[in-house]
């Protein structure tokens, strides 16, 4: 059983399109995150949700909108994609004060 699964693994799309990345965790964790990892491998937090409530919203363009229908899911919707959005996006979940479990990542390429 995959603990944190995100789909799709690869996403190639044209500038201006709208796309979504889905994330699900079956660990019963209360907190879920979205991270963006750039070409230099820097892992930067984008959003954090705790029990379906937004906790952290770092300086991210408002074209990015997270949605948490329940505490096991945290999806990321991106409007009007730009070339600079190309990166690997990781979903993660943590129990309170515990280690982060990461999904395998979604490699987004905007052309």
């Amino acid at each position: 059983d995959t603990a944190v699964s995100q789909t799709p693994k690869y996403l190639v799309t044209q500038m201006g399109n709208d796309k979504s990345i889905k994330c699900e965790q079956n660990l019963g964790h209360d907190t879920m995150y979205w991270y963006k990892q750039d070409s230099k491998k820097f892992l930067k937090i984008m959003f954090s949700y705790n029990n379906k409530e937004l906790i952290i919203n770092e300086t991210v363009p408002n074209r990015f909108s997270p949605k948490s229908p329940d505490k096991a899911h945290l999806n990321l919707h991106i409007n009007s994609l730009e070339l600079g959005d190309s990166a690997v996006y990781f979903c993660a979940s943590t129990p309170e004060g515990g280690e982060a479990f990461f999904g395998q990542g979604t490699r987004l390429t905007v052309v």
Binding site: V4, L43, I45, S48, F90, G97, A100, F102, G103
Partner: protein, 112 residues
Amino acid sequence: TQLLEQSPQFLSIQEGENLTVYCNSSSVFSSLQWYRQEPGEGPVLLVTVVTGGEVKKLKRLTFQFGDARKDSSLHITAAQTGDTGLYLCAGESGGSQGNLIFGKGTKLSVKP
């Protein structure tokens, strides 16, 4: 904004050599975690250190948390080619909804 400075950013060594990776901050963290990431995969936890001055060993890897809980180091003894990967430190800011903030990572390459 809490920041974690990780150094060196890149490290290329021969098999059998020792190395140390550093993670420094001006902020205090309730815990500090070290992750290893392989290409095409998400980071995987190696260890969590919680107490100031704590030292944890994982086979050839030794992790240390600074007394003030602002810095940490990862020391690898007699590196092997299988140690190659991206090493990330992450600090937790504390509280019931603590943030997990990552350093920029150290890309380690161990050559045979």
